[in-house]
């Protein structure tokens, strides 16, 4: 699946209800299914500091694709993290750098990625792109 297809699927999945509680329940479920980060990476080096909820993110680059594992101490944040991983994990650095994450807005979670929300998610997207840039540079 292309990145756009994954994003469109997520948008489709979230369109089943306008009720926020339904959407949060779905996010909570998605968070439970996320590939869990190895506990040894839940350390300061991989911590993305938001003011309120913590996010740990660990990248692996096999020379072609980058895969991510992650976790958060807040459950809804973990759900959003899981969505980002669905979209951006197992992609090439070029793809990750170029991706416009339009699904966030479409499923109504834009405010969770705004600089005024101190939950570390915006930093997480930045960090994913920074890893991609670093891996891309290491290839050359």
């Amino acid at each position: 699946m292309t990145i756009s297809e994954v994003q469109n699927n997520i948008i489709e999945e979230f369109s089943f209800s306008d009720d926020w509680m339904d959407k949060y329940n779905l996010l909570i479920d998605i968070g439970k299914d996320m590939p869990v980060i190895d506990p040894k990476y839940k350390v300061k080096d991989f911590l993305i500091e938001g003011c309120q909820s913590k996010v740990w993110l660990h990248p692996v680059y096999d020379g072609k694709l980058i895969s991510f594992t992650a976790d958060s101490d807040a459950i809804i944040t973990r759900g959003i993290v899981a969505l980002l991983i669905k979209v951006l994990s197992n992609r090439s650095p070029e793809e990750i750098i170029a991706t416009d994450l339009y699904f966030i807005d479409k499923i109504g979670l834009r405010q969770n990625l705004s600089p005024t929300r101190s939950n570390g998610l915006l930093s997480m997207v930045r960090q994913m792109k920074l890893y991609a840039m670093a891996f891309q540079a290491s290839k050359k």
Binding site: W20, M21, Y24, N25, Q52, D73, A74, I75, I76, T77
Partner: protein
């Protein structure tokens, strides 16, 4: 006495909906909503008589200056200060405390001196003193708290020493709601010839503040926490202190004579009001004070006490919910945590139910450290809140639990 329905009708924002649900506004500790009369008063300044204060010879400047000085008199009378010279307008509590920390420090604090704070302080009553102590080589001493979230007076008495230069404590804790024993704190300090600053950010809006009775040396509060506009606050200081300490900002209006060799300062309180002050907000604050007086401070306190005990009862009945701050003497502020649920998740879900709470450390990290937690959910109520809203919160918390546990 106005009933709560009528009181709520005075605040336009309280009738709005968020996410299609009626707004339950429980973040009054962060900022309060404004009654229509305050909005009108500020609007009127800009529409009818806006002119910079204390400067012009013209009509509008005169009117603005008069309204600004009338606002000062209004504040003076409200807090029962002795003189208008003792009432300085600032940008808010933070501005007031920063100002005093600087000016008092410049005048009185030397290396090895000590400033006493309590563990309950929010960052606005910690960081300015830390900055001053670093500059002067002075030391902060901290009054500890017990498990109920009350300061330990005996430990405070032990901290007072000949090295103590000032005591600065909150009237009430923003994170836990504890009301501090100000009589004991102030009289012990005064017996040791130490002046006291009271941070009234969470005190001014609950009950009656009478500074003659309280007898503190400095008092700070923010207009926006007592139903007034943002960007205006008050620094009260006893005249003898304000006369002795240097200004904390230089600029227009605070001067008497300026030459490049030497500047002499204006008389009190103008010495501390450099540059263009936020006079429209001062007028709005005066209107907020009139409003509070028209409702009645005793009546406000009785409404809030009812809310306090009802919320205590409702929250205590929720399984796996821990309330932090169990003092008998509290403002209607509740900090709590639900077992195994991150406060941020709780706040996000409550938000979507239309319930506005604050989550996190509430700018009081030392308080959170005391309990070994990284944050709480805080519901801070005031007189315009209702028991129905408390029920909505309690139901909301149950819903959060079913979703997340």
């Amino acid at each position: 006495m106005k009933n709560v329905t009528d009181i709520r009708a005075d605040f336009p924002i309280l009738s709005r909906k968020v996410y299609g649900k009626p707004l339950v506004y429980f973040d009054n500790g962060a900022t309060t909503q404004k009654p229509q009369c305050v909005l009108d008063a500020v609007d009127k300044v800009y529409k009818e008589y806006n002119g910079n204060i204390h400067r012009g010879v013209h009509y509008l400047s005169d009117m603005s200056s008069e309204a600004y000085e009338a606002a000062r008199e209004n504040v003076r009378s409200f807090i029962n200060a002795e003189k208008r010279e003792e009432v300085v307008f600032t940008s808010g509590t933070t501005g007031s405390i920063n100002g005093i920390a600087f000016s008092y420090g410049e005048r009185y604090v030397k290396a090895g001196d000590e400033i006493i704070l309590s563990r309950l302080e929010h960052h606005a009553n910690i960081v300015p003193w830390q900055m001053m102590c670093e500059r002067k080589g002075a030391v902060l001493r901290v009054i500890p708290i017990n498990e109920k979230g009350e300061i330990v007076l005996d430990e405070y008495y032990k901290l007072l020493s000949p090295r103590t230069r000032l005591v600065s404590v909150a009237q009430a804790s923003n994170a836990l709601g504890t009301i501090l024993p100000l009589n004991e704190i102030i009289s012990a300090a005064h017996s040791a010839n130490v002046p006291v600053l009271i941070d009234g950010a969470q005190g001014i809006q609950h009950g009656i503040v009478d500074l003659k009775e309280m007898d503190c040396d400095f008092y700070a509060f923010s207009g926006h926490k007592i139903y007034g506009p943002n960007g205006i606050g008050v620094l009260y200081g006893k005249e003898k202190w304000l006369a002795e300490i240097p200004p904390f900002q230089g600029g227009g209006d605070m001067v008497d004579k300026v030459t490049f060799e030497k500047t002499t300062y204006n008389e009190l309180p103008f010495k501390f009001e450099a540059g263009t002050m936020n006079y429209p907000a001062a007028v709005g604050l005066a209107s907020a004070i009139d409003y509070v007086l028209s409702i009645g401070r005793d009546y406000i306190a009785s409404l809030e006490n009812e809310l306090l005990s009802y919320a205590n009862e409702r929250l205590a009945a929720i399984k796996d919910l821990t309330i932090y701050g169990r003092s008998e003497h509290k403002i209607p502020t509740f900090s709590f945590h639900i077992k195994d649920i991150h406060q941020y998740d709780t706040g996000m879900i409550l938000d979507k139910m239309g319930i506005a709470v604050r989550t996190g450390t509430h700018c009081a990290q030392p308080v959170m450290d005391h309990y070994g937690i990284d944050g709480t959910v805080r519901a801070s109520l005031c007189f315009y809140n209702t028991k129905d809203e408390i029920d909505a919160l309690a139901d909301g918390i149950e819903k959060v639990k079913t979703m997340l546990v």
